[in-house]
Amino acid sequence: MQLDKILHVEDDESIRIIVEMALVDICGFTLLACDGGQEAISQVEGFTPDLILLDAMMPGMDGIQTLNEIRKKPNCLNIPVVFMTARIQDSEKQEYLAVGAVAVIEKPFDAMSLGDRLESIYQASLISQEIHNQE
């Protein structure tokens, strides 16, 4: 299955624009961009994304809180979540992976290759889910 629908949660508008161009204009994904956790929670069920790209540091509700809320929604339990962060402390990276993120992308990221990275992360998560289900 190919990656198509991506939910992007990011409080910084500039980055939202860049990501939209990189994923939609260049890669042709279907993207829904939210400017914070609350919006994402309310949109996620209707949008049913294949993958969520979630900024870790956001005012109000941060990435981890947002993820926890999304996981409470039905049908959202298995959506792969990729964190994006400017904090590159290893401890934080581990923390994100621990709460269920499948990958962490550091800022600044390479816009041109972002689509490819997400696609490969998505494929990898599908395989691991399949293995998990078989078990």
């Binding site: 980055i15 161009m21 204009d25 800022k107």
Partner: protein, 916 residues
Amino acid sequence: MQTPVFPLSETERLTALNNTGLLDTGPEERFDRLTHLAQLCLGTEIVLISLVDSNRQWFKSKQGLDACETSRDISFCGHTILGDSIFEVADALLDSRFADNPLVVSAPFIRFYAGVPLVCNGENIGTLCFIDSKPRQFTDKERDIAYGFAKSIEQEIIDRLQEQAHEQLTASELMYRSVLEGTRVGTWQWNVQTGDIVLNERWAEIIGYTLAELEPISNETWAARIHPDDNIKSSTSLQEHFNDENPFYDFKCRMKHKDGHYVWIHDKGRVISKTSNGKPLMMYGTRADITKQKNNELDLLQSRDQFKTLVANIPGVTYRCNPDKKWTMLFMSDYIYSLSGYPASEFTDNYSRSYVNIIHPEDRALLDKIVQESLLNQTSWVFNYRIVHKNGSVKWVEERGSAEYDSAGNVQFLNGFIQDVSKQKKLQDQLLKLTQQLPGVVYQYQLWPDGRSAFPYASSGIEDIYGVKPEDVVTDASNAFSTIYPEDVPAVSQSIELSSQQLTIWEQEYRVYRNDKSIIWLSGRATPERMPDGSTLWHGYIHDITQTKEYYLQLEDLNLQLNVTQQSLDLASEQAKIGYWHASFEHGTFWWSPIIYQIFGFNAEDVVPSSSLFKNSVHPDDIDKVLKSEQQTRSTGIVNEVYRIIRPNGEVRWVHELGQLVNKELNPDKIMIGSVQDITERMTLQKIKDEFISTVSHELRTPLTSIYGALSLLQSGKIATLPAKAEKLVEVASSNCKQLSRLINDLLDIEKLAAGKMLFEMKRLNVVPLLQRAINDHQPFADLHKITLTLHVDKQIDELFVYVDEHRLLQILTNFLSNAVKFSPESGSVMLSATLTADEIEIAVQDQGTGIPEDFKSKIFGKFSQADASSSKVKGGTGLGLALCKNLIEAMNGSIDYSSEPGCGARFFVRLPLSV
């Protein structure tokens, strides 16, 4: 005339005659009475008892004749003894055998002769003869009478012999008896067969009885009184005599005295007759009281034994010898055996060796000389010399001897005592050697009440101490004392005086002048002893302590310096608030400087530093870390730990502890020293800084992300097509954006490393693919600068592994390569290589740039370092790269360095240990 012949048994006849003992004896009544009676009875003029001797006839008794003997060859009796019966000549003048016989033709004018042989022991010893001067013939009756008289005479001869024998016997018995009585000897006669015993009075007296008291006398008289221990031996001895094994029964035994004690008696006797079947019959013997003799003998034996025991127990040889050249030994005690290996018996009378022979040849002459001199002066001698033991070993002995003189002053004997002094000699030698080894003098010093003093003994070391020889001061010590440093003389004198008065140990340090006028320090110590003559004798030791004294002074200097250092340390510690401590792993002891008490919030008076006090202060969240660190310290010997403590008032403080084991070789107590610094303020600042950097990086990166993303999208040309100039501008912006991004990343990495927050994913890997990747990654960048990238890998590297974080190693190589490309001239080349050096892999990047200027070398791995401050702008470096590389490679147990000659490029390399 016919001369009578000798009978066949002439010899026996003469013996028998002689045995009668009649020849040449005086006239005897018993014979004269018989011849007189015979003269009367037979009426002849002459009657003779004629004894025919070898060449005469001698008349024992004669009637009617004065002559006492006549020659045998003219005798009538010579003829008579040739027959067994009466020999008669009726008329000699008519008988041709006697007609011309002088006794016929002259006085006594014999005409008739009749002789009857006298027989004794079967031999005709002579005759009883009858002579007349007228011819006659005996009638048969007269012949019988003649025979009768002859028999009577023969009987008289026998009787006479018996009487004589009896008289002799009586005389000898009397003599023996008187002798026995004189010698106070008891006698006994014993009929062995019947057991009858006859004893004399003395026999009884010896055991305190009278004979009457012992009645009835029997075997029992004797058997009941013999000592039980002697009874059997007595029987044995008796039996031996009975069996003719001993000619006498000779036995000494004890008999019980009437008083109850035993007396020693000596019995001696023998069997004097035997029964017809050869059994002993009569036994005669004597008995003597030998108690006194026996006691004397026992006393003698005892005293001899005592003497022997006494002598044997003396650890030396006592001797008596003749004053000859060989010293002929009359007596030597048994100790000579252990001394020489030869028994004393071999020396006695030079039986098989002389004592001189075992004296060491080198010592013989001197010993002889000393003894001779002593004899001359009539003095005794003491001399030490060597003797050679049987086993070849040499022993030192001390001989003390003197001579015994007679009244004329002549030497009779030499007496002496020889003692084994090998041990003492050895000890003496050892002592001498030891004292020679001592770096000082061992001495005896004697001080008399009149002020005289001397060194009766001083080892040779005195020369080093006082510059005098032992013999120079043996009677006068002043030579030695003149060398004492004048200032110290009073102290030395006073201390000696005090020691002498109170008999306390003398101890003094003082100075003396050397011969070369230099001064040395001495330390003396001696124990005093009061001598009978009122003097004081010290036994002591003095040695040169100049060196020690110098060390002591140096030590005092060092102590002073140490004090200054200590005070400086205390001051610094006080100001920097760094406490220090030391502890012994071996003894579990701790010491804290005052600042540590302050840091931990303790009052130094209230607590004693200990492991538990320390651990109880550690924050519970950090205690595991501290314990783990302590565990590691035991193997590494190093402490470097940051943790929190809780003060007694509940306040939490951060501390940084550093410590290390003191040099192992000099540290038997395993002493560890260390410091503790209160870093609470620093940690607070650190936290603020970390948060600041984190925030800044986030805040910087977020816009950077947008700028970088926007620029790369623009550059991709997929969003829009830009005019050429705009494209150029976008390129500049993009390049600076990357530079900014790198700067932020490097900065964050460095801070992470410094804070120990960087995680390394260490893996065992082969570096070759990584090198290839580094080349590939940099190829576009190199192309941009028209630089050729080459890779050179030693063949064996293919097989080898290192243990690294792949990502971080790549980061380092990236840094090297980008620097090399940047600093290389256009069309130059950069070589990445991997080589094996000992047990490390060296990965190097060689460029062809200008090289590293000399003045920059020291700070090349520092932060924000670029040789040309302006070059960062041109070359796009952050100045943090090499500092980061150094931190990274060291965190992975590697090392970093470079080599460079200005103008010849630079070669940067890292070395990583091989992973087995």
